[in-house]
């Protein structure tokens, strides 16, 4: 009975079949099915002939051996006419059905009543699958009848396998509380699909999809039942992927979806705001330990994801590690080698162009940003945000200071990272001898530390050989002498040579500024600016390492404070008094007055300190002269005595 619009075509096909004028007897269901398959294989505008490649794919999806397919192609006449017209196509489909039922590929066999041909490995429209339910638009739920039918056939194929696979679900170790929802969802998919009826199965995932966020998936009609089956197969075992001939997007549990990637990136940001920088090993360790996976597994995950083996995770490495953790929590066995889709280069390239594919985890990732996992890890966010500064506690103080400060946090963040790298390096100190791979980060950290150390301890330069005290460069000193009434000793001495003040005096000047800055953190920028002019005078006469120190000062004030505070010598009452003054924290007026007084005192202090050092230098020189004279005397004396 040839009916429908394809009836005429069918008749024409029958006549032009070329194989003895076979009348194709198509039942209604067959008619529908074939027409739908045909329309899928050939794009609508050219309804004349089906595209060869899509037809080929369809035939391969029938899972018949290739030579059978060749035979079918020959018999249906496509080889002869060179294309797959509707006649040839329908003939071919019939022959496929026959072959699948076990009949030989002959025209005679299709005269019988045959079931519909089955295409177990059928892909939607020949394009990549759009894997999971969440991807599909709930609005496109109108499944044509044929799709349901096709689904029923597929289910017949896979149903047995599902039954066999569902028992292994239970032995999968159920990870603790938070990801149990994921497993439950997997289980419901598995059990639901294998047990409940067709409609229910469709209903359940549809609801899930409905509740899920809606994405602009292409949502082809055939994709959904295929998706339902594919989700099922993936959730049960990885081996079922072999059903599909190629590892397409949706089959791959190791492929990161867009939402997952966004989630991972947000988590990365919570640990390390700079996306192009790294998360150090200890921070990552604390973070991933919260996932409550056993340590050997976490260790293995780290080995897999840290591709360059530097003890730190970049953004793609972090995404890979996180993905592996999620996979492991959902019952997947960890691979021996990092899958291609998790390689950093791949992830970095992928991050540029968003991939609209979904895997199993899409359905889980709905919960991920929502409740469970974020609860787990948001707890991590705060503690980790506090922990990361905990180890370099000093730098963290400096960090807080710097929130409004000049130098900005970028430089500071590199410092904690490098300091942590430094600790990593000391743990693995033998690496320096033999590493072929570049370890520039750890090297730079050592140099930075050396530079900072040098800044802390300025070496005293050799004393000036001048005997006369005529100086031209201490004009500032003169000014200060004249300005400062407190320095009544201003007219005391001619300006001494600008010798380098030894360290304690520097700490004296530093210390009051430190002490006054420390309690007044909010005024840090103003303080820095106020103190810097006071320091400039100190800086002028000092070795070049001082500016390095001053430069670092706004960055790491906190760092210097603990270093300088032990050196509080309390040599003069003034700094001690100044320490008391700012500690009181009175009204702002008092503060300002105190600050100006402090500044003046600081200047005076600086002057006096310099004076002190210069006088000491002079004393040394005088001593030397004396010694020289004495030796001369000794040499001359014997002459006179004799």
């Amino acid at each position: 009975m040839e009916q429908g619009p394809a009836g005429g075509a069918g008749g024409g096909a029958a006549s032009s079949g070329g194989s003895g004028g076979v009348l194709l007897a198509l039942s209604e269901s067959e008619q529908q099915r074939y027409s739908e398959l045909f329309s899928r294989c050939c794009p609508p505008p050219e309804a004349a002939a089906a595209g060869g490649s899509s037809v080929g794919e369809l035939f391969r999806a029938s899972q018949l051996p290739p030579d059978t397919l060749h035979q079918i192609t020959e018999v249906c006449g496509a080889k002869r006419v060179g294309y797959f017209g509707p006649a040839q196509f329908y003939l071919a489909l019939k022959l496929i059905a026959a072959a699948q039922s076990g009949f030989p590929v002959r025209i005679e066999s299709i005269k019988n009543e045959l079931p519909l041909p089955r295409f177990p490995a059928l892909k939607a429209d020949g394009e990549a699958w759009y894997g999971t339910p969440a991807e599909l638009h709930p609005g496109k739920f109108q499944l044509p009848q044929a799709a349901l039918e096709k689904n029923s056939y597929k289910r017949a194929d896979e149903g047995d396998k599902q039954e066999a696979k569902s028992p292994p679900l239970s032995p999968i170790c159920s990870p603790p509380a938070s990801p149990s929802t994921y497993q439950r969802m997997a289980l419901t998919y598995g059990y639901g699909k294998s047990r409940s009826g067709l409609e229910q199965q469709h209903g359940a995932p549809y609801e899930v999809r409905h509740s899920a966020h809606q994405q602009d998936g292409p949502g082809s009609y055939g994709a959904k039942p295929a998706l339902a089956c594919s989700t099922l197969s993936r959730s049960l075992s990885v081996e079922q992927e072999q059903q599909d001939s190629s590892s397409h997007y949706s089959d791959d549990p190791w492929r990161i979806t867009e939402e997952q990637r966004d989630y991972y990136v947000n988590q990365f940001k919570s640990l390390q705001p700079d996306l192009s920088s790294f998360i150090s090993g200890s921070v990552a360790k604390n973070f991933f330990t919260k996932s409550k996976l056993p340590i050997p597994e976490l260790s293995h995950i780290w080995e897999l994801s840290d591709v360059d083996c530097d003890g730190a995770l970049t953004l793609p490495e972090f995404c890979a590690a996180f993905h592996l953790v999620v996979a492991r929590k959902n019952g997947y066995q960890l691979p021996e080698r990092l899958p291609e889709t998790l390689l950093p280069e791949y992830l970095q390239a992928a991050s540029l162009k968003p991939i609209h594919d979904c895997t199993l985890f899409d359905s889980y990732s709905e919960a991920l940003p929502g409740a469970q996992q974020s609860r787990d890890f948001s707890r991590a966010e705060k503690p980790s945000a506090e922990e990361a500064p905990a180890s370099p506690a000093l730098l963290q103080d400096g960090k807080k200071d710097d929130k409004q400060a000049l130098q900005g946090s970028a430089a500071l963040k590199t410092i904690p990272k490098e300091f942590q790298h430094l600790t990593m390096k000391t743990a693995a100190q033998e690496s320096s001898a033999l590493r072929a791979r570049p370890r520039s980060r750890s090297y730079s950290s050592t140099s930075l530390e050396d530079a900072m150390k040098k800044g802390e301890e300025p070496p005293t330069p050799p004393p000036r050989p001048q005997k006369s005290h005529s100086r031209a460069s201490s004009l500032d000193l003169n000014k200060i002498f004249q300005q400062n009434t407190q320095a009544a000793r201003s007219g005391w001495l001619p300006p001494p040579p600008p010798a380098l003040p030894p360290r304690p005096s520097v700490s004296q000047t530093e210390q009051p500024s430190e002490v006054e800055l420390h309690p007044q953190l909010s005024r840090a920028p103003a303080q820095a600016e106020e103190s810097s002019p006071a320091k400039k005078e100190v800086v002028l006469a000092q070795p070049p390492s001082k500016p390095a120190r001053r430069k670092l000062r706004p960055e790491a004030q906190g760092l210097e404070t603990p270093e300088l505070s032990p050196t509080i010598s309390g040599t003069s009452a003034l700094p001690a008094a100044k320490a008391h003054l700012p500690a009181q924290k009175q009204a702002s007026k008092q503060k300002r007055a105190i600050q100006t007084a402090i500044r003046k005192n600081k200047e005076a202090n600086a002057v006096l300190a310099r004076l002190n050092s210069e006088l000491q230098q002079q004393l040394k020189e005088v001593h030397k002269e004396r010694i020289a004279l004495e030796t001369q005397l000794e040499q001359l004396r014997p002459v006179t005595v004799l």
Binding site: S299, W302, E303, A427, E430, S431, A433, L434, R435
Partner: protein, 139 residues
């Protein structure tokens, strides 16, 4: 193509020891243990010179009738000991050195793993696979 490979910590306890499965594996453990004395001797002999100048590869520690024992020390006093079958004459010094270098590289990779606490037994699969590739294949 070693018969036994061992990684000994600074305090002279084993972090990792793997030998070709034979009937008498304990013999290899014993050999490695006794070779530690030789290693210490070699280290102290060079002790006068700066640590940097000391070479990491110690060479042949001592030969026995059936096999030879080679040693290698890192800068943090972690020792690698390798027992090689004497009948395997094709193995040259350079090859031994390269094997030790690979061991050392893998060891530093393990160290970079923050989940590894120095002093724990080594349980890394990557390290295992690397060591397996160096062991002799027993038919």
């Amino acid at each position: 193509m070693a018969v036994c490979i061992a990684v000994i910590a600074k305090e002279n306890y084993p972090l990792y020891i793997r030998s070709v499965p034979t009937e008498n594996e304990l013999k290899f453990h014993y050999t490695v243990h006794t070779s530690l004395d030789v290693v210490d001797e070699k280290i102290s002999a060079m002790g006068k010179a700066l640590v940097d100048q000391r070479e990491l590869y110690l060479g042949l520690l001592y030969p026995t009738e059936d096999y030879k024992v080679y040693g290698y020390v890192t800068n943090s006093k972690v020792k690698f000991v390798m027992v090689v079958d004497s009948s395997n004459t094709a193995l040259r010094d350079n090859e031994i050195r390269s094997m030790f270098r690979k061991l050392h590289n893998s060891y530093t990779d393990i160290m970079c793993n923050p989940f590894y606490n120095p002093g724990d037994r080594i349980q890394s699969r990557a390290f295992d696979s690397m060591v397996n590739s160096m062991m002799m294949q027993v038919c």
